[in-house]
Structure formats: structure tokens, C-alpha cells
């Protein structure tokens, strides 16, 4: 396998972007990534997108993206793993470069979610659950994570306040990210008094519905060395799956797919959890961040809540988690999320993260999750 490096990143401001279409957003992000890399042609395109069919009535976006990026006839693929589609797109692009199938690959992620009503968006997202045995009984995504939260609180004593502190921390970080959908701070009381969605989760425990896109350019490390830019290598790219339905998991309070993907990633990169200087995890709900911290080995089982409360994962803490603002504050255009996580780590490793910069960050990790944990994609990045 060839070593792989990131040579370009492109991110647009996320939000409710009424004036922009799916193709507008992914082309804008893609062009920003090409400009950052200083190139205008690529050998291959991979785009992560969960559900352009349900959100926009548009499938076949591999062709659409290649066309509107002015790259035809290059090969292009759309990949889907629910909310982990972006992470899987990066892994697919990584495999193409590492294997020699392609040299320069544009990896994009996009989701245009506000072209449908809130209930239609909820339905589209719900298709990532087991349609026949979860959605059929009235389950929603907040509901699935609420089921995990209820069990986690009972088993480990995780508190309602600890959940709220995840949202508060991520909004603190997101207030320093100009691309975030909700770049403002919130307080614990605001979370605790916000409207209940699925007990015990309230609306401020939930990531929002977002329009957004993000893109990366990757290439072989040897090629990247010829560019006059800070080198960022991808030293691990892994994925693991688990039962699609929550009832099929061995433990409701444990995200096995994140554990398995992270374990393989540490082996691949030759690193340990405690080596990471900056970490982006899939905080689609506050409980998810706590459970993923445990699964990827930052803390012991059941210790995610107290760790957040003690500031372990705050900017300036031992393991800064979600310096971008996470899904909570930055937004969660599902297919774009995994790509944007990678962009945050690349920016941190290049020391381009501005006021939220983690000083001297050399190693970073991303964890992107599909559904209620039916899939997880992990990447490790290292400054060259």
C-alpha cells in the first residue's frame, strides 16, 4: 500500500442554505478543496451522501458531481453508510490512492436537507434504522439514542447535567468556527430547560438539520512532498459494522462498531488512544459523544460522563474532543459530516484552526458513525 496524504480542504459555511442546491454546495466545497491543493484536475471522485433520493429526489450524484465540477470523464462513485457516508467516502478514496488505482482523488460529502419538511427529513433519517423492526414501532433517531442514554444512566450513573455539558462544550468550540451552523454559546440550564424530544434527550442534546458540503483532495505521500504545504498523512483508515437494530447489540450501553474500528486504526497507525492530540467524534446526540469516548478508549467504560464534567475533553483539556463544534454546533448535513471531521483535524495539524487551535497538535483522530452505531469509520492523521 502507498502512503496517503491530504493536500487540499474545502468547506462552506453550513446552515439552512435556502439559496443553494445540492450541486451548488458540493461544487463550491470541491472547488475550494482544489484551490487549496493548487490543482484543477483529479483522477477520481468519491462523494458521501446519505439520501439525496429522499431529500432531493436526485440519485446518481456521482455523475452530477463530476459533471458540475468540470471533471468528466473521470470515474466517480457515491458511497452511503447513513451518517457515516462522508467517512466512508474518505476511506474509499484512501483505498484508491493506497492501492494505486488513482493518484489524485477528490473526496466530497454533501447533504441538502431543507428542501423537505421537518417530518419528511425525520423520515429520511429514520431509514438508517431497521425499517421493519424499529421504525415500524415508532422509533426515531433521538428515540434510539434516548434508549441508549436511559440504559447508560441506569448502569453507570451518567447524569442529565453531564449530557448537557457535552452540548455546552461543543457550542463553546463551535462559537470559534466561522463555518458552524450555530456558532454561539449555550449554558447548561438552556439545555436542561429546552423542549423534550425523547426522554431524557432534549432538543439541545440533538444535532440539527443542516445543509452543507465539504471536500478533501488526497494523493500519494510522495507526490504531496513536492508541494510547498504542511504535510498531513492519513496513517489509518478503518471501518467496522454492528447489528443495524439496537435490540440486536450485545450491550445497549456500548458502541461496538466504534470500538472495533478504533482498535484496528490504532494498530494500523501504531498508536494508542492517549497519543491523540485532537479528536472529532460523532456527537449526533450528547450521549453519543460520551459513549464514543468510551468505545475509542479515551476513558474507561462508563466514565464518559464524569470525564466531560471534569473538562478532560474541553479545549485545553487532555483530549480536546470536537474542537470544530461537533455535529451539535457545526451542524450535521449527514453525508458531509465525516469529511468535515477530517477537515477539522487537517486544519488543526496544519495549525490553521485559529482561536480553537490545539497547540502543537501532531496526531488526530476522527470517528464517524452510521445510524445508531451500525457502522463506524475511523481515521488517524499525522503531521508529516
Amino acid at each position: 500500500m502507498r502512503d496517503v496524504a491530504v493536500i487540499g480542504v474545502g468547506m462552506i459555511k453550513w446552515g439552512e442554505l435556502w439559496e443553494k442546491s445540492l450541486r451548488d454546495m458540493i461544487v463550491e466545497a470541491g472547488l475550494l478543496a482544489l484551490d487549496d491543493a493548487g490543482i484543477d484536475r483529479v483522477d477520481s471522485i468519491v462523494v458521501g451522501c446519505m439520501s439525496s433520493g429522499l431529500f432531493n429526489g436526485q440519485e446518481h450524484i456521482d455523475s452530477l458531481v463530476a459533471d458540475y465540477l468540470g471533471q468528466v470523464p473521470v470515474p466517480a462513485a457515491r458511497v452511503e453508510s447513513a451518517c457515516a457516508s462522508g467517512g466512508l467516502a474518505l476511506r474509499t478514496g484512501f483505498a484508491q490512492v493506497a492501492s494505486g488505482l488513482a493518484d489524485v482523488v477528490l473526496v466530497g460529502g454533501v447533504e441538502k436537507m431543507t428542501d423537505v419538511s421537518g417530518s419528511e427529513a425525520t423520515y429520511a433519517l429514520g431509514t438508517a434504522a431497521d425499517q421493519e423492526y424499529e421504525s415500524f414501532h415508532g422509533a426515531t433517531f433521538p428515540g434510539l439514542y434516548a434508549l441508549m442514554a436511559c440504559a447508560h444512566m441506569e448502569k453507570y450513573g451518567t447524569t442529565r447535567k453531564q449530557l448537557a455539558m457535552v452540548a455546552v462544550k461543543n457550542h463553546d468550540n463551535g462559537s470559534m468556527n466561522p463555518h458552524a451552523q450555530y456558532p454561539f454559546k449555550i449554558c447548561v440550564d438552556a439545555v436542561l430547560e429546552s423542549v423534550m424530544v425523547a426522554d431524557p434527550l432534549r432538543i439541545l442534546d440533538c444535532s440539527p438539520i443542516t445543509d452543507g458540503a465539504a471536500a478533501l483532495v488526497i494523493c500519494p505521500l510522495e507526490m504531496a512532498k513536492r508541494l510547498k504545504k504542511p504535510l498531513v498523512k492519513i496513517t489509518a483508515s478503518t471501518m467496522a459494522t454492528d447489528a443495524i437494530a439496537l435490540s440486536g447489540r450485545r450491550e445497549i450501553t456500548w458502541i461496538e462498531s466504534a470500538y472495533q474500528a478504533a482498535k484496528k486504526a490504532y494498530e494500523m497507525a501504531g498508536k494508542q488512544p492517549q497519543d491523540m492530540h485532537v479528536i472529532e467524534v460523532h456527537d449526533c446526540f450528547t450521549i453519543a459523544e460520551i459513549m464514543v469516548m468510551e468505545a475509542i478508549g479515551l476513558v474507561e467504560k462508563g466514565q464518559g460522563g464524569p470525564a466531560v464534567e471534569a473538562g478532560l475533553t474541553s479545549l485545553g483539556g487532555k483530549y480536546p474532543v470536537n474542537t470544530s463544534g461537533g455535529l451539535k454546533s457545526k451542524g450535521h448535513p449527514v453525508g458531509a459530516t465525516g469529511v468535515a471531521q477530517a477537515i477539522e483535524i487537517v486544519k488543526q495539524l496544519r495549525e490553521e484552526a485559529g482561536p480553537r487551535q490545539v497547540k502543537g497538535a501532531k496526531l488526530g483522530l476522527t470517528q464517524n458513525m452510521g445510524g445508531s452505531g451500525g457502522s463506524s469509520v475511523v481515521h488517524i492523521f499525522e503531521r508529516g
Binding site: S119, Y123, F136, G138, L147, A149, A151, D199, S247
Partner: protein
């Protein structure tokens, strides 16, 4: 609206709780599977799930998906049946304040929801505290 054949083919599970038991390792698959996720055996026999168990986690859905709009708020739980199989479903005929982990429930045949204006009525299982 989806073709009713989708509903019809799920009747053995929804109405009769039919599962598959692996003849090699004893794993009970619900819904039935063609290959055992534990031992890769493909030999299954049809068994009926236990009709009682206990709640292992629960929530109250306050923002429902469209087909359940007229039912919210409603309780949703995961129940571990006495044969060890876990099922998701609504917990009914009780106040939300009575929900607790470990609560014994029985499985009952109930109406779930109606699909569309003149649509199919979906039936299936729900949980009722014992």
C-alpha cells in the same frame, strides 16, 4: 404507498412472533435469518418467541415520525424476553411514570398504525406491564 405484499410477508413475525432457532448453537434469530450470526450454520427450526419479559431500556417519543403523529407522546422500549431475545416496541396501558428498567411486561397483539388515508391497518406486538 408501499405495495401491501410488504405487509403480508411480515405477518408470521408481526402476528405470531415466529423466530428461527439455530439447530447448531441454539441462537434464536428474530426476525428469522438464513445464516446464524454466531456460528454461520444455515440450519434453523421455526420457534415461537416467549410472550413475556422485562424492560431493559425505555424512552417517551414526544416528536413522532409522520405515521405516529396522532399517537405522541408514546413510550418505546426494548424488552428482553424470557428466552433471551430482545424486541423493540411500544409500552402501553401504563403511565409514563410507571416505566422502569426491570419492569415485567407481557407481549400483546395490538393495532400499530394506519397507513395513508384509506390505507392498510398495521398490526403487531406491543408490551403491557404485568
Amino acid at each position: 404507498m408501499p405495495n401491501p405484499s410488504r405487509l403480508w410477508r411480515e405477518i408470521p413475525q408481526r402476528y405470531r412472533l415466529e423466530a428461527g432457532r439455530c439447530q447448531n448453537c441454539g441462537y434464536i434469530a428474530f426476525p428469522p435469518r438464513l445464516v446464524c450470526p454466531r456460528c454461520q450454520s444455515r440450519a434453523f427450526e421455526t420457534v415461537r418467541l416467549a410472550d413475556a419479559g422485562k424492560i431493559i431500556t425505555y424512552t417517551v417519543i414526544r416528536v413522532p415520525p409522520q405515521p405516529f403523529a396522532d399517537q405522541a407522546p408514546y413510550a418505546l422500549g426494548i424488552v428482553e424476553l424470557d428466552d433471551g431475545v430482545r424486541l423493540m416496541g411500544q409500552v402501553v396501558d401504563c403511565g409514563f411514570e410507571d416505566l422502569k428498567i426491570g419492569q415485567r411486561v407481557k407481549v400483546e397483539f395490538r393495532k400499530l398504525y394506519e397507513e395513508g388515508a384509506a390505507g392498510v391497518i398495521h398490526y403487531g406486538y406491543k408490551f403491557v406491564p404485568e
